[in-house]
Symmetry: C3
């Protein structure tokens, strides 16, 4: 970010109590009504605060640009805690009038984000699945409607939920590294991308390309990602950030108010589509993920991942 950007980590905050309460309020709003007591939320959050630092935000107030770095090693898995921290940070940035643009990137080498956290979808109870899904919905709703200009620099592997995050941004720049791929590959794991993942993809690459992409669970290397339109630009890895700053400058030349209204107009129908049926979508996720066949499939997949590591 050049000289002098202040590094502002999510936690510990300058006023831990105040910030924690804000975060809790946000978190609480995101919970299913009645899913747990307010006290339980507070108690749990206190624990989480100590586990934090999964999201690092650096703000260049002069430029009006913040960089939000995913740092949940080893693969920036979107665990419930990670998703919650992302939502809290987005809320803070939206309320910060000095920040007009946001660059989303990864600090974990070789991975933008591996996507949703399988351990939040396997072997837990329905209340946990529901809480997790509500948080993932909340993250998408905030990112897709973000009033800031959002640019994703895809500097690593970007499957499934990682791809979703990048697709919510206004612009996507991918590092030209053939080891990185991007796409919604859910079917390859025997699961199904929900309709709002699908809507986001269709808005990005069109209906026909989405049919192929989603059914086959395609992961595109950089050149193909550019061709199909899932990213807007491919540049050498060491130029990803400087390119993002140039792109951001172009977008920030547009009056915020007009750009924000235009963005909202374009995305509102897709957002409304989820908002209208948010609870039903949670119920459907819980019911789907709780099936024996799906749990067994995830178990096999997790074992395979473990053996790969070993």
């Amino acid at each position: 970010m050049g000289a002098g950007p202040g590094q502002q980590q999510t936690e510990p905050p300058p006023d831990p109590d105040g910030l924690a309460k804000m975060a809790l309020a946000s978190r609480a709003r995101a919970l299913l009504p009645g899913a747990r007591s307010w006290g339980a939320v507070l108690a749990r959050a206190t624990t989480q605060r100590a586990m934090s630092h999964r999201v690092v935000v650096e703000t260049d107030a002069a430029a009006g640009v913040a960089v939000m770095k995913l740092r949940n090693p080893p693969v920036n898995s979107l665990s419930l805690e990670m998703v919650t921290e992302l939502v809290i940070n987005l809320e803070k940035l939206e309320n910060d009038r000095t920040v007009r643009g946001l660059i989303v990137t990864s600090e974990s080498p070789g991975v933008f984000s591996s996507g949703l956290n399988l351990l939040d979808m396997y072997g837990r109870n329905p209340a946990h699945y529901a809480e997790y899904w509500k948080a993932v919905q909340e993250l998408w709703l905030r990112l897709y409607q973000c009033p800031m200009v959002t640019v994703a620099t895809i500097n690593g592997a970007c499957p499934a939920g990682g791809c979703l995050i990048s697709m919510t941004c206004d612009y996507r720049i991918m590092a030209d590294n053939s080891k990185y791929t991007i796409g919604l590959n859910e079917t390859q794991l025997g699961i199904v991308a929900p309709f709002w993942f699908k809507d986001t993809l269709v808005n990005t690459i069109g209906h026909r390309a989405s049919e192929m992409s989603l059914q086959l669970g395609l992961l595109y290397p950089p050149a193909e990602a550019l061709r199909v339109g899932v990213v807007d630009m491919v540049v050498p890895e060491d130029q990803v950030h400087s390119t993002a700053l140039s792109v951001m400058a172009q977008w920030l030349a547009i009056p915020d108010h007009a750009r924000q209204l235009t963005k909202a107009m374009l995305r509102k129908p897709t957002v409304d589509n989820l908002v209208r049926q948010r609870d039903a979508d949670i119920q459907q996720f819980v019911s789907f993920i709780s099936r024996d066949s799906i749990q067994k499939g995830l178990q096999m997949y997790l074992q395979m991942l473990k053996q790969k590591k070993a």
Copy 2:
């Protein structure tokens, strides 16, 4: 299909009576309620059984792939009988757990399918038009929602209804022969593709290309068909089938359940659009096709075709 695929013709079935009844039940369900008595359906179907063989199905149980060959010479016209046989065969295949993929192709040299049968739209009574249209709707509904992976090998001319059938498939491979063209050319005949033909085209090539394509009734030769996106691949004519088998293998590598749910999610809005107004669409077709001006136009076109032959 390699070694050992069983050639299974539509008729006669191993148990003619049982199969005929199943087919009849299907056919009866497809009829307009009250359009004719059950007895009349049975009587007519008995006759039709002897006229059959318009659709040939070869199944390679080991690979889990069936090939459905259109064989209604000379041009695979989608007559009421042909449409009915296609529906019956699709229903049988859907109920066959050993079949996961379906290749749709033509056995009539030089023609994939000439599309809807003008003789079912000219000089008949409203009840016939209604029965015909209901059957065409049924064919589209089954193909577009087919739980199997569907690949079309377009090994001949593919106008109008032929193009529609191929567009319902998950993937389209066209033979590289400049004599073959593909497109919804209805306006060239003075008729109008119904909205669900239009929806299928828009889902395939987008709104703008559909405006040009439908209004001008464009028929694309292979290279242009590929460019506009109405087909996914163009290969030398003698490689069409082997390419289809390779493509099929790629699609069958995806768990059926996840792929089927994803396909249903992507296509449901388009399907619902017809299901919601199926009867109104039939009434509109009957009323449109019954007009003097349309009948006169079809008569002229049919005479022109006759003179061409002579």
Copy 3:
């Protein structure tokens, strides 16, 4: 238009009274109900008739093609009077059975149209804003649903409302002159293209390209306009009109009836989207444009334009 096209200017009409009344009826229908008395409409229109000639129509009855030339110097600004004249001329042409095709072009050198007239949006009262917006809606509704084949020859700069007019046409041919650009650049002026401008753009270039295009207020030079799909063809400037005639001939080879029904089917959902909420859209425009911040922005922009000239 070759030999013998009759040059028919908007005004004075052969039968001034009859035509004026027709025009008035049309104009009156377009007004907000109760916005002004019928007598006031008559009185005002009488004045306007004398100020006319902003639209020149030349008809080649033999070819069945009319050319409508925008002639509101210096930049073909879409003032209330200009918009009204365009609507009146379109209505006349629609009622002329000899005219099947319409070429829309500019007679003002270097400019197709600069778009909406800022002087109708700045420093006026809410009733004027409402009248203006209703007229702009009416123009779009007529052009987008025009039963004639419509071809735009973009022989000059084509921002904002100019781009909208060209996008309503069935085909767009742009002169290959790097000084000309085309696009919906509203955000650059701090204002927002309404949803039906957006819908028209999405129908033309798809959702993703529209996101970039609208948010950044992009103006595309010819080659880029062709690549993104906002125009269909780029030709040398002196070939724009002859190319339009060739393209028109291709479109006129299609039976009118079938083409018109197909066009209506493709565009009806987008049209209905405005018709359903036409009054609300007017109210929203009036309220938006009346804001102090927007008025101040327009004032600054107008001053800047004045200084450029001086």
